[in-house]
């Protein structure tokens, strides 16, 4: 797959500027949908007392994950280097199968479409899809 060009980065940054205040809401809803629509993802959260999509643990985790996405936007020019720590965490500790990054990305974009139906144009959609894919690649880089 391709890397991000200047237009992609500008589009992602501009859209993120509009929506960043809602980062926590997006994260909570996206994580909830991931657990509800793709129940196999719950296997990573067996340590939670309550693995239901609307549990406090799920909400908190959605906020954490979206915080990571927000950070990645600021490091969009060099995701591999900028996300080194997170990359090692996912490779050696979390070991989340990379197919799940795609699942979460889809749910993040579903929430963006729900919350920002006018701003989440096809052009923003393709840039965001590319960005989330690049982010996933950076997170999986140290896997093997």
């Amino acid at each position: 797959m391709t890397s991000l060009n200047a237009k992609d980065k500008d589009t992602v940054r501009a859209f993120w500027d509009k929506v960043s205040n809602y980062g926590e809401d997006i994260g909570r809803d996206a994580l909830c949908r991931m657990l509800a629509v793709y129940p196999q993802t719950k296997t990573y959260f067996a340590h939670w007392k309550d693995q239901s999509p609307t549990s406090e643990s799920a909400k908190k985790h959605g906020i954490t994950v979206m915080g990571g996405v927000a950070d990645a936007v600021t490091k969009i020019d060099d995701l591999s280097r900028g996300l080194l720590g997170l990359s090692e965490l996912h490779a050696f500790t979390l070991r989340v199968d990379p197919s799940n990054f795609k699942i979460l990305a889809h749910n993040i974009m579903v929430v963006m479409a729900i919350m920002f139906p006018v701003d989440f144009t096809p052009e923003v959609h393709v840039a965001m899809d590319k960005f989330l894919a690049a982010l996933a690649r950076a997170l999986a880089e140290k896997y093997r």
């Binding site: 949908r33 629509v37 999509p53 729900i114 989440f120 096809p122 959609h125």
Partner: protein, 147 residues
């Protein structure tokens, strides 16, 4: 055969009865061609696909999007027999149209996002789960006759 609860049947029936096919069909195919540009390979005879603006204004694409969306009506009417219902369309997509079945998943992801934008918060996690299950069954049926 896929099992559907009463709740799931109701969600699907409700979603389709309120669906604006003209709007959603056009938007879904248009968005698919923009977000996944390689899917344009199947639309060589449809006119100008040069950039996102051209695709959005292309009446042939809009019309075809509506046609594709109506293709889901067959599943809606035959929820207990989706595999057999799509056997003929599967052969068509394989033998005549030569569409890579992976593309069905791409269109179904985009359609989910277009419907999410349309329904807003009415597109609850439960509705999303049911709709994605429905699309996954259709996608699987469409890929069944490929050989």
């Amino acid at each position: 055969m896929v099992a559907w609860s009463e709740q799931e049947r109701s969600i699907i029936a409700n979603l389709f009865s309120n669906l604006d096919y003209e709007d959603v069909g056009a938007k879904a195919l248009t968005r698919c061609l923009i977000v996944y540009p390689w899917t344009q390979r199947y639309f060589g005879g449809f006119g100008n696909l040069y950039n996102a603006e051209a695709i959005k204004m292309n009446p042939n694409i809009a019309a075809h999007g509506v046609k594709i969306l109506h293709g889901l009506d067959r599943a809606l009417k035959n929820m207990d027999n989706i595999k057999e219902t799509y056997a003929e369309l599967s052969v068509l997509h394989s033998e005549k149209l030569h569409v890579d079945p992976d593309n069905f998943k791409l269109l179904s992801d985009v359609l989910t996002i277009v419907i999410a934008a349309k329904l807003g918060t009415d597109f609850t996690p439960e509705v999303q789960a049911t709709f994605q299950k429905f699309l996954a069954v259709v996608v699987s049926a469409l890929g069944k006759q490929y050989q």
